[in-house]
Amino acid sequence: MTRRPSRFRILLLAIVLSAAPFSSPFEAAEIPLAERRSSYDMMSAETRAMQDEDTSNPGMLWVLEGRELWSRKVGAARRACADCHGDAAESMKGVAARYPAFDESLGRPINLEGRINLCRTERQQAPALAPESREGLALATFIGTQSRGMPIKSDDHRLTPFIEKGRALFSQRQGQLNLACSQCHDDNWGRLLAGIPMPQGHPNGYPIYRLEWQTLGSLQRRLRNCMIGVRAEPYLYGAPEYLALETFLMWRARGMLIETPGVRP
Protein backbone atom coordinates (compact mmCIF):
# COMPACT_ATOMS: atom_id res chain seq x y z
CA MET A 1 0.00 0.00 0.00
CA THR A 2 2.82 2.42 0.77
CA ARG A 3 4.29 2.08 -2.73
CA ARG A 4 1.15 3.13 -4.50
CA PRO A 5 1.32 6.91 -4.11
CA SER A 6 4.91 7.08 -5.31
CA ARG A 7 4.12 5.00 -8.40
CA PHE A 8 1.26 7.36 -9.12
CA ARG A 9 3.60 10.33 -8.80
CA ILE A 10 6.02 8.82 -11.31
CA LEU A 11 3.18 8.20 -13.69
CA LEU A 12 2.00 11.79 -13.33
CA LEU A 13 5.51 13.04 -14.02
CA ALA A 14 5.68 10.89 -17.14
CA ILE A 15 2.42 12.36 -18.41
CA VAL A 16 3.62 15.90 -17.79
CA LEU A 17 6.89 15.18 -19.61
CA SER A 18 5.24 13.55 -22.59
CA ALA A 19 2.85 16.47 -22.93
CA ALA A 20 5.70 18.96 -22.87
CA PRO A 21 6.31 19.12 -26.65
CA PHE A 22 2.68 20.08 -27.11
CA SER A 23 2.53 22.73 -24.43
CA SER A 24 5.91 24.43 -24.89
CA PRO A 25 5.86 27.58 -26.98
CA PHE A 26 7.29 26.44 -30.29
CA GLU A 27 10.72 27.66 -31.21
CA ALA A 28 10.47 26.79 -34.94
CA ALA A 29 11.89 23.30 -34.59
CA GLU A 30 12.40 22.87 -38.30
CA ILE A 31 12.78 19.39 -39.71
CA PRO A 32 16.44 18.60 -40.46
CA LEU A 33 17.01 18.30 -44.23
CA ALA A 34 17.84 14.61 -44.06
CA GLU A 35 14.67 13.75 -42.14
CA ARG A 36 12.25 15.28 -44.60
CA ARG A 37 9.84 12.82 -46.16
CA SER A 38 7.31 13.15 -48.91
CA SER A 39 3.75 12.34 -47.82
CA TYR A 40 4.06 9.56 -50.39
CA ASP A 41 6.08 7.58 -47.83
CA MET A 42 3.23 7.69 -45.32
CA MET A 43 0.53 6.51 -47.72
CA SER A 44 -0.85 3.00 -47.90
CA ALA A 45 0.67 0.61 -50.43
CA GLU A 46 -2.53 0.81 -52.47
CA THR A 47 -2.45 4.60 -52.74
CA ARG A 48 1.24 4.53 -53.62
CA ALA A 49 0.56 1.98 -56.35
CA MET A 50 -2.18 4.25 -57.68
CA GLN A 51 0.24 7.15 -58.01
CA ASP A 52 3.08 5.05 -59.41
CA GLU A 53 1.35 3.80 -62.49
CA ASP A 54 0.34 6.39 -65.05
CA THR A 55 -2.71 4.44 -66.19
CA SER A 56 -4.11 4.19 -62.66
CA ASN A 57 -3.16 7.69 -61.48
CA PRO A 58 -6.32 9.80 -61.96
CA GLY A 59 -4.15 12.93 -62.08
CA MET A 60 -3.02 11.77 -65.49
CA LEU A 61 -6.50 12.57 -66.81
CA TRP A 62 -5.68 16.24 -66.21
CA VAL A 63 -2.24 15.78 -67.77
CA LEU A 64 -3.98 14.38 -70.83
CA GLU A 65 -6.29 17.38 -70.97
CA GLY A 66 -3.42 19.80 -70.35
CA ARG A 67 -1.50 18.32 -73.25
CA GLU A 68 -4.43 19.10 -75.55
CA LEU A 69 -4.78 22.62 -74.17
CA TRP A 70 -1.07 23.24 -74.63
CA SER A 71 -1.46 23.28 -78.41
CA ARG A 72 -4.94 24.83 -78.61
CA LYS A 73 -5.04 28.35 -80.05
CA VAL A 74 -6.93 30.69 -77.75
CA GLY A 75 -7.65 34.37 -77.17
CA ALA A 76 -7.67 37.35 -79.48
CA ALA A 77 -4.06 36.56 -80.40
CA ARG A 78 -5.07 33.08 -81.64
CA ARG A 79 -1.93 31.73 -80.08
CA ALA A 80 -1.30 28.43 -78.33
CA CYS A 81 1.19 27.82 -75.51
CA ALA A 82 3.09 25.63 -77.97
CA ASP A 83 3.46 28.50 -80.46
CA CYS A 84 5.90 30.24 -78.13
CA HIS A 85 7.13 27.46 -75.86
CA GLY A 86 7.29 24.58 -78.34
CA ASP A 87 7.52 21.09 -76.95
CA ALA A 88 6.65 21.20 -73.25
CA ALA A 89 8.82 18.16 -72.57
CA GLU A 90 11.80 20.39 -73.45
CA SER A 91 10.75 23.91 -72.56
CA MET A 92 8.85 23.15 -69.33
CA LYS A 93 11.31 20.65 -67.89
CA GLY A 94 12.25 21.80 -64.39
CA VAL A 95 10.00 24.86 -64.47
CA ALA A 96 7.53 23.70 -61.81
CA ALA A 97 10.48 22.77 -59.58
CA ARG A 98 11.47 26.43 -59.24
CA TYR A 99 8.04 28.06 -58.79
CA PRO A 100 6.87 30.31 -57.15
CA ALA A 101 9.55 32.37 -58.88
CA PHE A 102 10.34 36.05 -58.44
CA ASP A 103 8.77 38.24 -61.10
CA GLU A 104 10.74 41.40 -61.80
CA SER A 105 7.85 43.47 -63.13
CA LEU A 106 5.48 42.56 -60.30
CA GLY A 107 8.19 42.80 -57.65
CA ARG A 108 6.92 39.66 -55.94
CA PRO A 109 6.88 35.91 -56.43
CA ILE A 110 4.36 34.39 -58.78
CA ASN A 111 3.21 30.78 -58.73
CA LEU A 112 2.76 28.52 -61.74
CA GLU A 113 -0.99 29.12 -61.96
CA GLY A 114 -0.32 32.86 -61.83
CA ARG A 115 2.29 32.61 -64.57
CA ILE A 116 -0.11 30.66 -66.78
CA ASN A 117 -2.72 33.38 -66.30
CA LEU A 118 -0.20 36.14 -67.06
CA CYS A 119 0.66 34.37 -70.30
CA ARG A 120 -3.02 34.06 -71.11
CA THR A 121 -3.96 37.67 -70.48
CA GLU A 122 -0.83 39.29 -71.92
CA ARG A 123 0.35 37.05 -74.74
CA GLN A 124 -2.77 35.14 -75.75
CA GLN A 125 -5.15 37.98 -74.90
CA ALA A 126 -7.56 35.50 -73.41
CA PRO A 127 -9.52 35.84 -70.16
CA ALA A 128 -7.71 34.65 -67.06
CA LEU A 129 -8.67 31.19 -65.82
CA ALA A 130 -10.57 31.04 -62.53
CA PRO A 131 -8.81 29.49 -59.53
CA GLU A 132 -9.35 25.70 -59.45
CA SER A 133 -10.90 25.74 -62.92
CA ARG A 134 -10.57 22.50 -64.82
CA GLU A 135 -8.50 24.14 -67.58
CA GLY A 136 -6.15 25.94 -65.23
CA LEU A 137 -5.52 22.80 -63.20
CA ALA A 138 -5.02 20.77 -66.38
CA LEU A 139 -2.34 23.17 -67.66
CA ALA A 140 -0.62 23.41 -64.27
CA THR A 141 -0.59 19.62 -63.93
CA PHE A 142 0.68 19.12 -67.46
CA ILE A 143 3.47 21.64 -66.91
CA GLY A 144 4.14 20.28 -63.41
CA THR A 145 4.56 16.72 -64.57
CA GLN A 146 7.38 17.77 -66.93
CA SER A 147 9.49 18.22 -63.78
CA ARG A 148 8.63 14.86 -62.27
CA GLY A 149 11.66 13.36 -60.52
CA MET A 150 13.53 16.67 -60.47
CA PRO A 151 14.66 18.34 -57.21
CA ILE A 152 12.88 21.47 -55.98
CA LYS A 153 15.02 24.59 -56.38
CA SER A 154 14.71 27.63 -54.17
CA ASP A 155 17.91 29.67 -54.29
CA ASP A 156 16.80 33.11 -55.51
CA HIS A 157 17.81 35.63 -52.82
CA ARG A 158 15.00 37.95 -53.93
CA LEU A 159 12.57 35.39 -52.51
CA THR A 160 14.03 35.69 -48.99
CA PRO A 161 11.59 38.31 -47.61
CA PHE A 162 8.66 36.26 -48.91
CA ILE A 163 10.06 33.06 -47.47
CA GLU A 164 10.36 34.86 -44.13
CA LYS A 165 6.79 36.06 -44.36
CA GLY A 166 5.68 32.53 -45.20
CA ARG A 167 7.63 31.14 -42.28
CA ALA A 168 5.95 33.63 -39.95
CA LEU A 169 2.52 32.59 -41.22
CA PHE A 170 3.47 28.94 -40.92
CA SER A 171 4.32 29.31 -37.25
CA GLN A 172 1.48 31.70 -36.42
CA ARG A 173 -1.30 30.23 -34.28
CA GLN A 174 -4.67 30.78 -35.91
CA GLY A 175 -8.31 29.79 -35.89
CA GLN A 176 -10.62 28.70 -33.13
CA LEU A 177 -8.37 25.71 -32.49
CA ASN A 178 -5.49 28.14 -32.10
CA LEU A 179 -3.03 25.98 -34.00
CA ALA A 180 -0.08 26.87 -36.20
CA CYS A 181 0.86 24.83 -39.28
CA SER A 182 4.20 24.09 -37.63
CA GLN A 183 2.60 22.46 -34.59
CA CYS A 184 1.38 19.57 -36.72
CA HIS A 185 3.80 19.56 -39.63
CA ASP A 186 7.09 20.38 -37.88
CA ASP A 187 6.58 19.26 -34.29
CA ASN A 188 4.29 16.25 -34.59
CA TRP A 189 4.59 14.82 -38.09
CA GLY A 190 4.29 11.05 -38.25
CA ARG A 191 1.99 10.96 -35.21
CA LEU A 192 -1.64 10.10 -35.67
CA LEU A 193 -4.39 12.66 -36.05
CA ALA A 194 -7.77 10.91 -36.06
CA GLY A 195 -5.99 7.69 -36.96
CA ILE A 196 -4.15 9.19 -39.92
CA PRO A 197 -0.43 9.96 -39.85
CA MET A 198 0.24 13.70 -40.00
CA PRO A 199 2.43 14.49 -42.99
CA GLN A 200 5.27 16.99 -43.00
CA GLY A 201 3.31 19.02 -45.50
CA HIS A 202 5.61 19.29 -48.48
CA PRO A 203 4.37 20.77 -51.77
CA ASN A 204 6.21 18.33 -54.05
CA GLY A 205 3.20 16.55 -55.57
CA TYR A 206 0.96 19.48 -56.54
CA PRO A 207 -1.50 19.76 -58.12
CA ILE A 208 -2.60 16.57 -56.37
CA TYR A 209 -5.43 14.17 -56.98
CA ARG A 210 -6.95 13.90 -53.52
CA LEU A 211 -9.13 10.86 -52.96
CA GLU A 212 -11.17 12.74 -50.37
CA TRP A 213 -11.95 15.45 -52.94
CA GLN A 214 -12.50 12.92 -55.72
CA THR A 215 -10.78 15.43 -57.92
CA LEU A 216 -7.59 17.32 -58.52
CA GLY A 217 -6.71 20.46 -56.60
CA SER A 218 -3.99 23.04 -56.14
CA LEU A 219 -1.72 23.71 -53.19
CA GLN A 220 -3.86 26.72 -52.31
CA ARG A 221 -6.93 24.53 -52.09
CA ARG A 222 -5.02 22.24 -49.75
CA LEU A 223 -3.88 25.16 -47.59
CA ARG A 224 -7.46 26.40 -47.47
CA ASN A 225 -8.47 22.92 -46.36
CA CYS A 226 -6.08 22.99 -43.37
CA MET A 227 -7.21 26.50 -42.44
CA ILE A 228 -10.82 25.38 -42.34
CA GLY A 229 -9.60 22.40 -40.32
CA VAL A 230 -8.26 24.65 -37.57
CA ARG A 231 -11.37 26.81 -37.96
CA ALA A 232 -9.56 29.83 -39.26
CA GLU A 233 -10.98 31.98 -42.01
CA PRO A 234 -9.23 31.00 -45.25
CA TYR A 235 -7.71 33.69 -47.45
CA LEU A 236 -9.09 34.32 -50.90
CA TYR A 237 -7.50 32.38 -53.72
CA GLY A 238 -4.39 34.17 -54.93
CA ALA A 239 -3.96 36.12 -51.66
CA PRO A 240 -0.39 37.29 -50.91
CA GLU A 241 -0.48 35.15 -47.75
CA TYR A 242 -0.94 31.98 -49.79
CA LEU A 243 1.86 33.02 -52.13
CA ALA A 244 4.17 33.63 -49.19
CA LEU A 245 3.24 30.23 -47.73
CA GLU A 246 3.79 28.52 -51.09
CA THR A 247 7.18 30.22 -51.46
CA PHE A 248 8.15 29.19 -47.94
CA LEU A 249 6.95 25.61 -48.43
CA MET A 250 8.98 25.22 -51.63
CA TRP A 251 12.05 26.55 -49.84
CA ARG A 252 11.36 24.16 -46.96
CA ALA A 253 11.15 21.27 -49.45
CA ARG A 254 14.23 22.33 -51.45
CA GLY A 255 15.99 19.33 -52.94
CA MET A 256 12.98 17.04 -52.62
CA LEU A 257 11.72 15.45 -55.80
CA ILE A 258 8.65 16.59 -57.72
CA GLU A 259 5.92 13.92 -57.96
CA THR A 260 3.24 15.82 -59.90
CA PRO A 261 0.54 14.60 -60.21
CA GLY A 262 0.63 13.18 -56.70
CA VAL A 263 -2.19 11.04 -55.34
CA ARG A 264 -3.04 11.72 -51.73
CA PRO A 265 -5.67 10.24 -49.42
Partner: protein, 106 residues
Protein backbone atom coordinates in the same frame (compact mmCIF):
# COMPACT_ATOMS: atom_id res chain seq x y z
CA UNK B 1 -15.90 14.08 -75.02
CA UNK B 2 -14.98 11.76 -72.19
CA UNK B 3 -11.37 11.03 -71.45
CA UNK B 4 -10.07 7.67 -70.40
CA UNK B 5 -6.76 6.01 -69.76
CA UNK B 6 -6.62 2.47 -71.03
CA UNK B 7 -3.90 0.01 -70.16
CA UNK B 8 -3.78 -3.10 -72.34
CA UNK B 9 -0.54 -4.96 -73.12
CA UNK B 10 0.34 -4.52 -76.79
CA UNK B 11 1.79 -8.03 -76.97
CA UNK B 12 0.98 -11.28 -75.21
CA UNK B 13 1.64 -15.00 -75.54
CA UNK B 14 -1.23 -17.26 -76.55
CA UNK B 15 -3.06 -18.46 -73.46
CA UNK B 16 -1.50 -15.81 -71.22
CA UNK B 17 -3.66 -14.11 -68.62
CA UNK B 18 -3.52 -10.38 -69.24
CA UNK B 19 -4.58 -7.52 -67.00
CA UNK B 20 -6.82 -4.83 -68.46
CA UNK B 21 -7.20 -1.49 -66.73
CA UNK B 22 -9.51 1.38 -67.55
CA UNK B 23 -9.63 4.75 -65.80
CA UNK B 24 -12.51 6.93 -66.98
CA UNK B 25 -12.80 10.65 -66.37
CA UNK B 26 -16.30 11.17 -64.99
CA UNK B 27 -17.76 13.14 -62.09
CA UNK B 28 -20.20 10.36 -61.02
CA UNK B 29 -22.69 12.79 -59.54
CA UNK B 30 -24.85 10.73 -57.18
CA UNK B 31 -28.18 12.53 -57.49
CA UNK B 32 -28.40 12.67 -53.71
CA UNK B 33 -26.73 16.04 -53.28
CA UNK B 34 -28.29 19.47 -53.10
CA UNK B 35 -26.97 22.90 -54.01
CA UNK B 36 -26.66 25.63 -51.39
CA UNK B 37 -30.03 26.95 -52.55
CA UNK B 38 -31.69 23.58 -51.98
CA UNK B 39 -32.07 22.33 -55.54
CA UNK B 40 -31.29 18.72 -56.15
CA UNK B 41 -28.29 18.04 -58.39
CA UNK B 42 -29.46 15.59 -61.04
CA UNK B 43 -27.86 12.18 -61.10
CA UNK B 44 -25.12 11.91 -63.71
CA UNK B 45 -23.25 8.63 -63.61
CA UNK B 46 -21.83 5.99 -65.90
CA UNK B 47 -24.19 3.05 -65.40
CA UNK B 48 -22.87 0.38 -67.74
CA UNK B 49 -19.42 -0.68 -68.83
CA UNK B 50 -18.81 -3.41 -71.41
CA UNK B 51 -15.59 -4.87 -72.78
CA UNK B 52 -15.47 -7.07 -75.88
CA UNK B 53 -12.57 -9.01 -77.34
CA UNK B 54 -12.89 -9.42 -81.09
CA UNK B 55 -16.64 -8.99 -80.70
CA UNK B 56 -17.12 -11.42 -77.79
CA UNK B 57 -18.21 -9.88 -74.55
CA UNK B 58 -15.60 -10.60 -71.88
CA UNK B 59 -16.59 -8.22 -69.11
CA UNK B 60 -19.61 -6.20 -68.10
CA UNK B 61 -20.21 -4.05 -65.06
CA UNK B 62 -23.07 -2.04 -63.69
CA UNK B 63 -21.99 1.08 -61.87
CA UNK B 64 -24.00 2.75 -59.14
CA UNK B 65 -24.23 6.18 -57.51
CA UNK B 66 -22.01 5.19 -54.58
CA UNK B 67 -18.99 4.73 -56.85
CA UNK B 68 -16.29 7.37 -56.72
CA UNK B 69 -15.63 9.94 -59.40
CA UNK B 70 -13.25 8.86 -62.16
CA UNK B 71 -13.98 5.13 -61.82
CA UNK B 72 -11.10 2.70 -62.26
CA UNK B 73 -11.89 -0.79 -63.51
CA UNK B 74 -9.32 -3.58 -63.58
CA UNK B 75 -10.03 -7.10 -64.79
CA UNK B 76 -8.37 -10.01 -66.53
CA UNK B 77 -8.76 -11.92 -69.78
CA UNK B 78 -7.02 -14.79 -71.54
CA UNK B 79 -5.12 -13.73 -74.64
CA UNK B 80 -6.51 -16.04 -77.30
CA UNK B 81 -5.83 -14.29 -80.59
CA UNK B 82 -4.62 -11.03 -82.06
CA UNK B 83 -7.27 -8.41 -82.47
CA UNK B 84 -9.10 -5.56 -80.90
CA UNK B 85 -10.33 -5.11 -77.34
CA UNK B 86 -13.18 -2.69 -77.31
CA UNK B 87 -14.33 -0.78 -74.24
CA UNK B 88 -17.59 1.08 -74.13
CA UNK B 89 -19.49 2.79 -71.41
CA UNK B 90 -22.93 4.32 -71.17
CA UNK B 91 -24.34 6.78 -68.71
CA UNK B 92 -26.95 9.36 -67.86
CA UNK B 93 -27.74 12.22 -70.25
CA UNK B 94 -27.15 9.95 -73.22
CA UNK B 95 -23.49 9.38 -72.52
CA UNK B 96 -22.00 6.79 -74.85
CA UNK B 97 -18.27 6.49 -75.27
CA UNK B 98 -15.91 3.95 -76.75
CA UNK B 99 -12.20 3.33 -76.90
CA UNK B 100 -10.32 0.45 -78.42
CA UNK B 101 -6.91 -1.12 -77.97
CA UNK B 102 -5.03 -3.49 -80.26
CA UNK B 103 -3.31 -6.59 -79.00
CA UNK B 104 -0.91 -8.89 -80.81
CA UNK B 105 -0.91 -12.50 -79.64
CA UNK B 106 2.05 -14.67 -80.59
Amino acid sequence: MTRALINVPTKAKRGEIIGLKVLISHKMETGFRYTTTGERIERDIIHTFIATYNGDEIFRANLHPAMSANPFLAFHAVATESGVIDFQWHGDNGLAARQTAKITVE
